[in-house]
Amino acid sequence: MNLAFVHNFPLFCIILTLFSGPCSMILSAKKARILNLCVITAVGIMSLLVLVEVCMSGGSYVYTMGHFPAPWGNEIRVGPLEAFMALFFCIIMFLSMVGGAAQRKAKLEESKENLYYVMVNLLLSSLIALIYTNDLFTAYVFVEINTISACGMIMIKQSGHTLEAATRYMIMSLLGSGLLLLGICFLYGLTGHLLMSNIKEEVAAIAATGTYHAPLMVAVGLMCVGLAIKSALFPFHSWLPDAYGYSTVSSAAILSSLVSKGYIFLLIKIFYRVIGFDIICNSKIINVFFVFGIAGMMFGSISAAKEVNIRRMIAFSSVAQIGYIYMGFGLGTNLGVLASIYHILSHAATKSLLFVSAAGLSECSGNHKELTKLTGAGYRNPPAGMAFTVGALSMIGFPLFSGFISKILFAQAAVNQANKMLPTLIALALSTILNVIYFMRAVLIIYTPQKDAACAQESGYRRIRMNEHPEIVFVFVCFVLLNLVLGLMSQPIVELCSRGLGMFG
């Protein structure tokens, strides 16, 4: 089979981002920043072209990495869902990087800023490789890159909080990696393969004979728990609030909306392309996911409601949203997984918007992050206030915005499941109420007029003019548009995702 030139683009994306990592190391901070934006843009454009090509030709294809065909060499697999995810991740990353540029300049040591771009570039490469890979061990290698670079992105702002958070993140994340590796080793021992499609054949044979049921379940369990720890499913979320709450804005936005989503996407690939979704559904693992997902939705929201620091509040809300995603897996149907994928998109678009706008709100309030100190911040920094309101509405699930669609999809998926319908719907309703409680409280606070003008002057409150950070206003506009697109034109995207998911099987 001869390949069109476009088919090489996934390879170019991975190599380009990998190459730009060492490149940023020898460049100055300013040049590295430009290089980073260029690389993200280039990867985004290439992913778009791949997406168009894959949609036009109506199928997925396999790309051999080297001269040796698949079970001997490495290969990557490109389908509509993968290309779309890569494109989407690039958009979010680009906006997060632009939105946090001013703060990075202020908070990072200048001589170390280029190292930040090393981390970001390699993080992007690992995300893209995780999306495209068709080989479990390649996935593990890039999970390693992902973990280390995320850790570096947390601790580059060197304060006590971030160092502690990075240590915690590293311990939990390495535990997750270790469990994932053990799971992969078990699977290799059982099947003798590392390539996803070959493992799936072997696993189907094993499941049919039923000889190796116990080790197979251990392997699946280890991989699921490992990835759940890394993506901060409820009982394993202790590393999350500090890591998202005290790192720089871009780090928080990228970590919450991309890093954890990369692992979840890998989990979906493992479900469909490695183990087979039927075997997963017949195991008890999805029930565990279902219970912990719902628990995460509740406890994440309750913790967020108790929180006084706006960044940590948004971080705890992430725990709740990850809970939604795992609840979707727990439903054990294709519709549930589809809803989860849509929630990945909507959460990524909304959470990064919230982090960037929260940074804008605290900038105009003397860099305070406590909610009580943010009184009237919406008037002092109108774009950030509006953006925060849009993000909050989307998180709550207000119609027009993306969160609404994903909640509807969850509800639709739940209706087909007789015994899980009631808990899902109740959980959705309760979690929506909790979301309203803490997000609307924050919105009300930022739109309460500040009374004592003299006191305000002293504590560093100031009005941010519209033209002070034009790039951040641009980022806000893009994020809001993205949210509206996901909320108003969901049908083609859902169809694309479901087609891509269908090709996974």
Partner: protein, 320 residues
């Protein structure tokens, strides 16, 4: 005295005021500026002692983990749970492993067409006598490409954490380092002078012979890095910085990784598009054989040795 003046008038003249000031009976600034000399801040011994005690008691209370009931309870529960967790994990893993196919058995699923081809055709297809090298640098080169970037990334995170960029810290670090640096230790220097060349040559041999026998970039690079560290310990930074600075490391790492990426892009691209690669495999056993493997080994060797040395320098001094 030529002229008699009344006392009141005389008291107003400048000369009287001057005289008074000289003799010290009157302060010229009195009534104009407050001249009360400030009392030196003085705390009695007792007071100081009291403050210290207070401070200590606060600190003790805050850090008194032994008598803090909450912390103790938490630690107890934490310890119990961690032991239970570990035991459960160990149990699950042992049970899982006991069910796995027998290791080394001929019907083990690991003995399949994948390893058969590696063993049977590895030599012809990769040109490397060492099958492991052929596997990691040719068959599965994409994984190794990621792996070498992991090493690079690890150095970057260590640089973020430990590199001291502010002048002030740099100087104190330099100072501290000079104190602890062994100064011209004759035994160490003599041994190092003899050993370091051999270690380096052996490291280079291991790197270059990666496709011919046991060895390769990772192990050879580690040996080279260890040799560099020994040299640094014996002769100090003054000598090593003549040829190896932070900038050298950056350029070396960039060069090696760029070389690796380019070489592999070429081979991935040609492989996927079914273009015949122009790189000859050469005669197996010759030093210049097995296609790109030698080049990749050298690149990995550079990255690994630089990483080892940089780790050491960062932990010792925080910059070079």
């Amino acid at each position: 005295m030529s002229k008699q003046v009344p006392k009141e008038v005389y008291e107003k003249t400048r000369s009287y005021k001057f005289k008074q000031w000289l003799s010290g009976t009157k302060d010229p600034f009195l009534d104009t500026v407050e001249m009360k000399p400030q009392k030196e801040f003085y705390e009695s011994e007792k007071l100081i002692h009291e403050h210290e005690l207070q401070h200590q008691s606060i600190v003790e209370k805050a850090y008194d983990l032994e008598h803090n009931a909450q912390v103790r309870l938490f630690q107890k529960i934490y310890n119990i749970f961690s032991v239970i967790f570990c035991l459960c994990l160990v149990f699950i893993l042992l049970v899982g492993v006991s069910y796995l196919p027998k290791y080394g058995h001929e019907e083990n699923p690991v003995n399949n067409e994948v390893s058969a081809r590696y063993i049977g055709q590895g030599l012809q297809e990769t040109g490397a006598i060492n099958i492991v090298t052929g596997m990691i640098l040719d068959y599965r080169a994409f994984d190794t490409l990621g792996e070498s970037h992991v090493l690079f990334l690890a150095t970057c995170t260590v640089l973020i954490l430990l590199r001291k960029d502010k002048k002030k810290y740099q100087e104190t670090a330099e100072h501290n380092d000079r104190i602890y640096e062994p100064k011209n230790d004759v035994i160490l220097q003599t041994v190092a002078r003899v050993l370091v060349p051999f270690i380096e040559i052996f490291g280079i041999y291991v790197i270059l012979g990666g496709h011919l026998g046991p060895g390769g970039g990772f192990s050879g690079g580690a040996i080279c890095g260890a040799g560099l560290i020994l040299y640094l310990n014996a002769f100090g930074f003054a000598k090593t910085e003549k040829f190896f600075t932070g900038k050298t490391y950056k350029c070396m790492c960039f060069g090696a990784l760029a070389c690796y990426s380019l070489a592999k892009t070429y081979s991935f691209f040609t492989g996927a598009n079914h273009i015949e690669s122009v790189i000859p495999l050469g005669t197996p056993g010759a030093i210049l054989s097995s296609g790109l493997i030698l080049l990749l080994d050298i690149c990995v060797g550079f990255v690994v040795s630089g990483t080892m040395y940089t780790f050491y320098v960062m932990f010792r001094k925080g910059g070079y």
